[in-house]
Amino acid sequence: MREIINTEQTLGFMKLRKIAAAFSIILLIVSITSLAINKLNFGLDFTGGTLIEVNFQKPADLNNIREVMKEADYSDAVVQAYGTERDVLIRLAPRNNVKAQELGDQVLQTLRAGIDDKIAVRRIEFVGPNVGDEFVIQGGLAMLVALLSILLYIAIRFEWRLAVGAVTALVHDVIITLGLFSVLGLEFDLTVMAAVLAVIGYSINDTVVVFDRIRENFRKYSKLTPLQTINRSLTDTISRTLITSGTTILVLLALFFLGGQLIHGFSTALLFGIFIGTYSSIYIASAVAFWLGVSREDLMPTEVEKEGADLDPMP
């Protein structure tokens, strides 16, 4: 059989728990500091404003476009190439004297008059400032509700120490993923928000698989210490963890390179989130549960359950 890692011997994952903890704490501090100082580079969805993506027939001269925009009194316009040389993205902050819904068309007219009348509109987006604020609140709320529901589910299905471990790992993943976007100044829009929430979904999936094995092994091996049990469980699940992360990363690479500009942020957040989520489900979730003193007694079945390898098989 082909193996990624030889798992006959129990691997000493937990030996590294202090180093991993230190590493994670550093990452968290860097992320939080950057989030506090640099903030997130919120996209149009959250800040409000107008965005116009246009397609030129010839490669576009960005400086010329900036010049034309400035002359037409749009000096706050941010002009950038988008994906290809012929696609240009123009952003404008909300303004008072113009009806927001007309701004996009006005800019388009300016460009058609000043540069080329064959410019094609790819998209126009306008988000009012209040709507943007609502998206922030909604997104934050979604994240909070998701975390609480998962905490509750694991506390009921498993045990509260494991639930706290899992949610700690999730918060860890979210903060560090947000931190990456803050440090690199990548744009944070609604699709990235969706990706961060998907990271929560992915990371919890990984963690639950490990926890399931921890519960099973606590019941199976009565002689092992909690630390040994956790190490054994991580060893049992490591190939699966790496393979699933591997296949997920494969498809995300396809999405990153082929999915186009619109979902670049999305795939970036997920790619990074999968790495950090895999790491945290191995080193953070179990370590936190260990520090909270999870033990064999906590995980013995209170009722007869049709689970585990030694019980009656399902039909």
Binding site: D105, V121, I124, S149, L190, I204, T247, F266, L270, A309
Partner: protein, 615 residues
């Protein structure tokens, strides 16, 4: 015997996948250009209309794939985009104004699939191209208008009742009345008590000169709902004018309206029309001059000839008695003989104007004119949109007595009364509307998004399939079959759910599901390997592998499903599109990866003597 599925389980797997495949099938046929015709206001689609359309196409030498009348619409399917445009212009010319003619893309689903209700997935605006508007109704304005109308009517009623007041002012939901004396206040209280529906007395202190009339929660909600539904009605009328094939106009939350216009090309025009205002005017009918002369071109000075909606043209005086913005409300009522009538309330200023104008005109006819601004589709030298002012007489009624702020129009049919009330209210938009979010996607970008999303799905799929084949050999191939079935299931389910829409983030959700769906099989196969290492027989290994992996898979997927469902409930736009495919993918992948692969593995390996497993 170990590892044999009963017949019903095998059948279940086959039937589920076959049904999903059947409903996923329409997505392969694509769409064809079409022209869609529906009736506007007073017209009706009949077989005769169908014949007109057919003969028009014949005259213009346009060959249509099919012309059919269904669901109150005529759908003309054509062979090319060029034919589509030509057909649209020809049909507009021959049918005239009473019909809405729109370009559309009709799914080219074969009729045998259509007969079982199969249709392709609905594509989101980011994939189809089109405009999405989120509009907000100004509720403060709506409340203020209602409250101002109320204070006006209080003033006049207090005068009639001889209750002396010093001040009446509005503060949000409260109307604060300051009376001359404590006695006046008491009189006011007993007068106001339970007199006005939707208002309660808040301050009942007998020694105070102040009385507060408070709008109830119920009335506030009614006001809001009314403002929203009024705006939705107006939006619907305007969208009809745009000739969009499948528009969506929907309330969202307490004070917002979503308008989605798929496939529209001229977005600037859409915005101008949706943002335009309809107004209403009351004018006297010119009875001194002959309508016939006016029709023949001799329109007298100071008068104007205007078309009437359901009748001959009318000659009206140029002077406007009153404009529609003074109308506070218009509703359908019935008189003592149960004949329908339209009750109209004006604000204070409007009441005075009406009263002055009708004083000397009792017995004469008065006309109600409805004015809408319609974009003509042409631009002037500066590139600005040209508007056509459409004025139309919607009602002529004889003034029976001097009118005030409350009057009624009688002598109308029940249906006409409904329409008239609606139009009167439309002219008196109680709350202005504002676009707070707009997303326009050009048609080229939409197609590009489809291509990119499809490419990402295909390549992600190929990569995972290759990996599984290399790592798990024959069992990997079984997992790959399951993965393929899973994609079919997702597409089938998305096509079956009426409200589900595929968006670009939704396609990203499918890609992610492809990556994560093999997880269940990885868990099972790793378990089987463990069992083999523990020296179990191959059959035992398969059996125990599936069983012990089951609870892990269930727990892991339920937690992910929780996250997906919360995304769907709380998120909006791109987030929702992503959540729906993710959630469907989680559920379908559990079925294909657990039940589906087991069926194949049982059929191939189950119940036989085998020494070695290819896992």
């Amino acid at each position: 015997m170990l590892n044999k599925y009963p017949l019903w389980k095998n059948l279940l797997v086959i039937i589920v996948i076959a049904v999903a495949a059947l409903y996923a099938l329409p997505n392969l046929y694509g769409e064809e250009p079409a022209v869609q015709i529906s009736a506007s206001r007073n017209a009706e689609l009949t077989p005769a209309t169908l014949d007109t359309v057919r003969s028009t196409l014949q005259q213009e030498n346009i060959s249509a794939k099919s012309v059919a009348l269904e669901n109150n619409q005529i759908l003309v399917r054509l062979k090319s985009d060029k034919d589509q445009l030509a057909a649209k212009d020809a049909i507009i010319d021959s049918l005239g104004d009473s019909y809405i003619v729109a370009l559309n893309l009709a799914p080219a689903t074969p009729s045998w699939l259509e007969s079982i209700g199969a249709s392709p997935m609905k594509l989101g605006l980011d994939l189809r191209g089109g405009v999405h508007f989120l509009m907000e109704v100004d509720m403060n304005e709506a409340l203020e208008k209602i409250q101002n109308g109320m204070t006006d009517s209080l003033r006049s009623q207090f005068r009639e009742e001889r209750i002396r007041y010093t001040d009446i002012s509005v503060d949000g939901r409260d109307i604060e009345l300051t009376l001359r004396t404590v006695e006046d206040a008491q009189q006011a209280r007993s007068f106001l008590d339970n007199r006005f529906q939707g208002y309660t007395l808040k301050n009942n202190d007998a020694d105070s000169k102040q009385v507060i009339l408070h709008m109830t929660e119920q009335k506030l909600k009614e006001t809001r709902d009314y403002a929203i539904s009024q705006n939705i009605t107006i939006m619907r009328n305007r969208v009809n004018e745009l000739g969009v094939a499948e528009p969506l106009i929907q309330r969202q939350g307490a004070n917002r309206i979503v308008v989605e216009l798929p496939g529209i090309q001229d977005t600037a025009r859409a915005k101008e029309i949706l943002g335009a205002t309809a107004t209403l005017e009351f004018r006297m009918v010119d009875t001194d001059n002959s309508v016939r002369d006016a029709i023949n071109g001799r329109v007298p000075y100071g008068s104007q000839l205007l078309p009437m909606r359901d009748g001959p043209p009318q000659l009206l005086k140029d002077d406007i008695i009153l404009t529609g913005d003074h109308i506070v409300n218009a509703s359908v009522g019935y008189d003592e003989y149960n004949r329908p009538q339209v009750n109209i309330s004006l604000d204070g200023v409007g009441g005075n104007k009406m009263s002055l104008a009708t004083k000397d005109n009792v017995g004469k006819p008065m006309a109600t004119v409805f004015i809408e601004y319609e974009a003509t589709g042409t631009r002037d030298a500066e590139g600005n949109m040209q508007f056509k002012k459409n004025a139309e007489v919607i009602n002529v009624a004889t003034i029976q007595s001097r009118l005030s702020s409350q009057f009624r129009i009688t002598g109308v049919g029940a249906q006409e009364a409904q329409n008239l009330a609606l139009l009167l209210r439309a002219g008196a938009l109680i709350a202005p509307i504002q676009i707070v979010e707009e997303r326009t996607v050009g048609p080229s970008l939409g197609q590009e998004n489809i291509d990119r999303g499809t490419q990402a799905i295909v390549w992600g799929f190929i990569l995972v399939v290759l990996f599984m084949m290399a790592y798990y050999r024959k069992f990997g191939m079984v997992a790959n079959l399951a993965l393929f079935a899973n994609v079919i299931l997702i597409i089938g389910v998305m096509s079956m759910i009426p409200g589900a829409t595929l968006t670009l983030p939704g396609m990203a959700g499918i890609v992610l599901t492809v990556g994560m769906a093999v997880d269940a099989n990885v868990l099972i196969f790793e378990r089987i390997r463990e069992e083999i290492r523990a020296k179990r027989s191959p059959q035992q290994a398969i059996h125990h592998g599936y069983d012990s992996a089951f609870s892990t898979i269930a727990d892991a997927n339920v937690t992910t499903l929780i996250a997906a469902l919360i995304l769907f409930a709380v998120g909006n736009g791109p987030v929702k599109g992503f959540a729906i495919t993710l959630a469907i993918g989680i559920v379908t992948s559990m079925f294909t990866a657990i039940v589906g692969t087991r069926a194949v593995i049982n059929a191939v390996w189950g119940g036989k003597k085998i020494k070695k497993l290819s896992v």
